[in-house]
Symmetry: C2
Subunit: 228 residues, 2 copies
DNA sequence: CGGACCGTTGACTCTTGTCAAAGCCAGTGG
DNA sequence: CCACTGGCTTTGACAAGAGTCAACGGTCCG
């Protein structure tokens, strides 16, 4: 069913920043590593929330589905990000790899048990979720108020700011997801996403290689187009 | 003429809340009460985050502005809700009363100092922010994927579920905000909001008294229209 | 080579936005 | 008491941005 695609072997150093205190971790750092193929689900909405995951490699799309199949991607989780935090017993969204990925699995019960007596850990959870909240609201502003051009530009600026490539190729933004993923995140169709990217190309603001690698030619112009 | 047009961003007049000793502060219990007139700002984006507030009465709209004036309301805070939680030193959105309101002011520094050594308080913060995150993502799904009718219906269902009126008048939903506030939350214009509400009336799903009091006539139908 | 999948492009449709005018209600002042 | 004013909502006519449907093209892989 899932064909074996060739693994990325080139993943560089992983972000060390962890919400789990190294000094007193009860094995949190060593949760089992799991490989997830492109399009494979890590978990679905409604699944019991037995684990929290840290993305080690690849990208995980977090999404919610309507009954008729419409999908809203609420976040992309990149290496170093945690997914599945929260206080509810079940997951409230789907998590699905957009490309081949690796994730570390961490026990929810152990985490919560630890947090109940460790204020600094609880505060780290607080901060992690607060950061997610800021991101969600930022996306909400895009989707609620911006034009297609502004949304796509803001999306690219956002990816650009993450600087996933490290210092080399500062102005190259990889798009490790399909047009449909971008569209489902921005509340646009794949056709509109495609047309908008084409327009950015004709405006010489970006260049696109193989449809997946965006070269930002005019950063400031792109930021202007992102609409504040 | 002393009507409520006090306040375009008059946060310079923000009264300083009294700071209760941290030792007595079980996090959320104390703080001075402040009255906020309709349209008055509690704080603005960029203001130093010196206080967290609990809504005691009325409704506070939390919003973000684009440079050209477009506004996205990211949440309505009702009595019992907290506003201004987070980890950043400054506020990242505006908070503005949609109608006359009362709020309790709580010192940020006292709260954070307390939370640093009290895991249960820190966990409460974690849970409060997690709940905000769930709400923000739910709104994101509406704005990103739903039609105008579905958004308005979902908005009404959401208010209906809060059951602000207590047990009496279970199917009456007060709208203590303007059409422009609803529109800015749902990513619609006031005209579209108005037309959609009119359509719901002609469908006999709701009835509207004085434009501000919605009687839900067919709850199930309204939920269907909300699109899952 | 052929098929599956994805992205691009074009023609056309339609929901929602824009602009404009009228209605409604509350508060005010003659 | 009633006309006037201002803020907000409703309604209508029209425009436009994004969606829909369809065809084509490129790439990967068996």
């Amino acid at each position: 069913m899932f064909s074996e695609t060739v693994a990325h072997r080139d993943h560089g150093k992983l972000p060390v920043a962890s919400i789990f205190p190294a000094s007193q971790n009860k094995g949190f750092e060593r949760g089992s590593l799991r490989r997830v193929e492109a399009r494979e689900h890590v978990f679905c909405e409604g699944d019991p929330r037995t684990h929290v995951f840290r993305v080690e490699d690849g990208v995980i799309a977090l999404s919610k589905l309507l009954s008729d199949g419409r999908r809203q991607i609420i976040d992309f989780a990149y290496p170093g990000d945690y997914i599945g935090l929260g206080v509810l017993p079940d997951h409230v969204f789907d998590a699905q790899a957009t490309c081949s990925a690796k994730i570390r699995c961490l026990s929810t019960t152990a985490l919560e048990h630890e947090a109940a007596s460790d204020a600094s850990l609880a505060l780290k959870l607080y901060k992690a979720v607060s950061a997610e909240l800021v991101a969600a609201r930022s996306l909400l502003v895009s989707v609620g108020q911006k034009t297609a051009m502004e949304r796509v530009a803001a999306f690219l600026v956002n990816l650009h700011a993450r600087n996933v490539n490290g210092d080399t190729e500062r102005d190259v933004v990889k798009l490790p997801m399909r047009r449909s993923d971008i569209g489902d995140m921005l509340g646009l169709t794949i056709e509109t996403v495609s047309r908008t990217i084409t327009k950015l190309r004709t405006m010489h603001v970006i260049d696109v290689i193989n449809g997946t690698e965006v070269h930002v030619l005019r950063t400031e112009r792109l930021k202007e187009l992102a609409g504040e």
